[in-house]
């Protein structure tokens, strides 16, 4: 990050202290990082903390909450609390991977389009427009119906849908950097396009890419949940969305088990998306110091 600030001649980098201040020095950042930290902890150590193996049945079907099963059991006697804890890793992993893929593709497309200009720019931006208009949940239902449900397909599908917005935002960042004096002078000194693009412009748009990653991560967690709820998730490794899918089709509403079967997974999804949203807001001032407080 330090090199980014030097390259753009932005105000002096504020370093780790400023980052800590942005994340922990105010209620918004504190809640956001707290939520993300909790989710990350569960994702990393979930299987160690979970009271049971969620893949095995550890009780009778449809048990009510008790000291043995704090959130009861599902239709095949699996412990719901354990499903919830272990599901964190699945949900976050799919969300993170899709967001990371989308940011890599989006940043590359945005860099090339913004820097090259001309027909290449026009063609790439047409493509972005097309992707932004396509109804993506229906599209993914169709693709998954042919390819079958799996985590890999889910990640690929989400990536292919959400790269377009970051591409457009990064491109506009590149456009404003391209004409800045130091880029002009570097070019005058005979630097290659590749050198200018990756040594000078890429660091300049990194803050944009970081903030877009946070947005992309929260939307891919929501999209993953919707798709898994439609039964398009991996049936072996259940995410929060898949837990809700089984709750819906196995009668959680009919037998009154919804308070411990339906409510908790939705809260987990909401809290992690909220964690990303608040962290993103808290980081805004740090990433874009010249914009001031929004």
């Amino acid at each position: 990050m330090a090199s980014a600030a030097v390259a753009t001649k932005a105000p002096k980098p504020q370093g780790w202290r400023a980052l800590g201040q942005a994340l922990l020095g105010n209620p918004v950042g504190l809640i956001g990082t707290g939520l993300l930290g909790l989710m990350l902890f569960l994702a990393l150590f979930g299987p160690l903390i979970a009271p049971y193996d969620p893949a095995l049945s550890s009780g009778k079907p449809f048990e009510r909450p008790s000291s043995a099963h704090l959130l009861g059991t599902n239709d095949v006697g699996q412990d719901i609390l354990s499903e919830l804890i272990v599901g964190t890793r699945v949900s976050l992993l799919i969300g993170f991977s899709a967001a990371a893929g989308a940011i890599v593709i989006g940043t590359l497309v945005g860099l090339v389009a913004g820097y090259a200009g001309g027909w290449l720019d026009a063609a790439l931006m047409r493509l972005v427009d097309v992707v932004l208009v396509l109804p993506f949940i229906p599209l993914m239902i169709v693709v998954a119906a042919y390819l079958g449900p799996s985590s890999g397909n889910l990640i690929a599908a989400i990536t292919l849908v959400i790269w377009a917005r970051p591409a457009r935002v990064v491109r506009s960042g590149v456009l404003s950097l391209r004409e800045i004096t130091y880029v002009e002078s570097t070019r005058a000194l005979g630097a290659s396009d590749f050198h200018i693009l990756f040594r000078h412009i890429l660091p300049g748009v990194l803050p944009i890419a970081v903030s877009q990653f946070i947005l992309a991560a929260s939307s891919s967690i929501l999209i993953e949940a919707s798709l898994s709820f439609l039964g398009l998730g991996d049936p072996i490794r259940k995410s929060w969305g898949s837990i809700l899918y089984y709750a819906q089709i196995r009668g959680a509403f009919l037998n009154g088990s919804w308070p411990w079967w339906v409510v908790p997974p939705g809260l987990m999804i909401t809290l992690s998306v909220l964690g990303f949203a608040l962290t993103g807001r808290a980081l805004e001032g740090y990433l874009f110091p010249r914009l001031g407080k929004g």
């Binding site: 599209l139 169709v142 119906a145 919707s226 709820f229 439609l230 809700l244 909401t270």
Partner: protein, 321 residues
């Protein structure tokens, strides 16, 4: 405008191409992916007819042009599961989706405009702060789960509204009774979709209103001694509404796509639910038709937004697009 039209045609072409290439790219017999899971029950003549229709012996480009022609004529194939043409099934489902998304859109625009305007009017006030925080929180809630919670509370726990469907099965209501029945079934899914699309309209309205309130003519009106009510309703609100219109039209497109999940939660018999059902049943011809119809609706609504916007706001005729 021409550029927009080209863009929409491209999207449509992508959708058609997805429908065309996916069944042909799958390993194994294409027959199954063209006809769906019912393929085993088909007679030899029916199988021959399917292969003849797809023209699999011809080169791929020829097949594609042929396919485009069929789609353009509204010939979307035959659902072997339902045993009737796909187009008829789609046209039966479409009104339900339009009813659901239309209701949700009207309500969310109404509330979004009201709350957004009042929040901006008293910037930093209690309503402004709570509604802003509320919109951030709402954006984090998965829409389908919101629907499930409404079902749990209002249909299962308190039994005020029906759990699923768009009409009471086996009941033969007449006249107003039938209307009332449809409305009762509409309440929960429409509320879910309304809440889900509320924050977009609200944020745009609040922002636009803040901009308008800083304009000179508002200050002039106040200086002339116009009452606060008049300033709010006659001067500020009208001008701030314009950007909301664009969001309104764009939401319409997004809602039709997003309704797929909501319709599934409530087993509401719209096109979105059909998409899910046909995917579960591997009724591929029906699945493709539903996908095409959803894409087409999104595009039609986007196009309408582009066409209507200059009429609503003459000032942007040059700036828009």
């Amino acid at each position: 405008m021409a550029q927009r039209l080209v863009q929409y045609l491209l999207v449509l072409l992508v959708a058609v191409a997805v429908n065309f290439f996916l069944p042909r790219a799958m390993p194994g017999s294409p027959l199954q992916f063209l006809a769906g899971d019912e393929v085993a029950t088909l007679t030899l003549e029916q199988r021959a007819a399917i292969l003849e229709r797809a023209g699999l012996d011809q080169p791929l480009p020829v097949q594609f042009v042929r396919y485009l022609g069929q789609v353009a004529r509204g010939d979307l194939g035959y659902s072997y599961q339902e045993n009737r043409p796909v187009l008829g099934i789609l046209l039966e489902r479409l009104p339900w989706t339009l009813l659901l998304t239309g209701t949700a859109l009207l309500l969310s625009s109404l509330f979004g405009v009201m709350v957004g305007a009042l929040a901006a009017w008293r910037r930093g006030g209690v309503l402004d702060n709570t509604s802003l925080a509320g919109s951030i929180a709402l954006d984090a809630v998965p829409t389908f789960w919101l629907g499930m919670m409404l079902v749990a509370i209002f249909a299962v726990q308190w039994q005020i509204f029906p759990v699923f469907g768009a009409r009471t099965a086996w009941a033969s209501y007449q006249g107003w009774q039938a209307v009332g029945d449809v409305l009762r079934h509409l309440v929960l899914p429409a509320t879910t979709l309304t809440i889900a699309s509320l924050s977009g309209t609200y944020l745009v309205m609040r922002y636009a209103m803040l901009g308008v309130l800083g304009e000179d003519y508002i200050r002039t009106a106040r200086a002339k001694g116009v009452s606060e009510r008049q300033v709010l309703y006659k001067h500020a609100l009208r001008n701030a509404m314009l950007p909301v219109f664009t969001v309104f039209m764009l939401n319409l497109g997004a809602l039709v796509g997003g309704a797929a999940v909501i319709e599934t939660v409530f087993s509401y018999p719209g096109v979105g639910r059909l998409l899910f059902e046909s995917a579960t049943n591997r009724d591929y011809p029906l699945l493709q038709g539903a996908f095409l119809l959803v894409t087409l609706s999104v595009l039609v609504f986007n196009l309408l937004a582009d066409l209507l916007y200059p009429l609503v706001d003459p000032r942007v005729r040059g700036a828009h697009g």
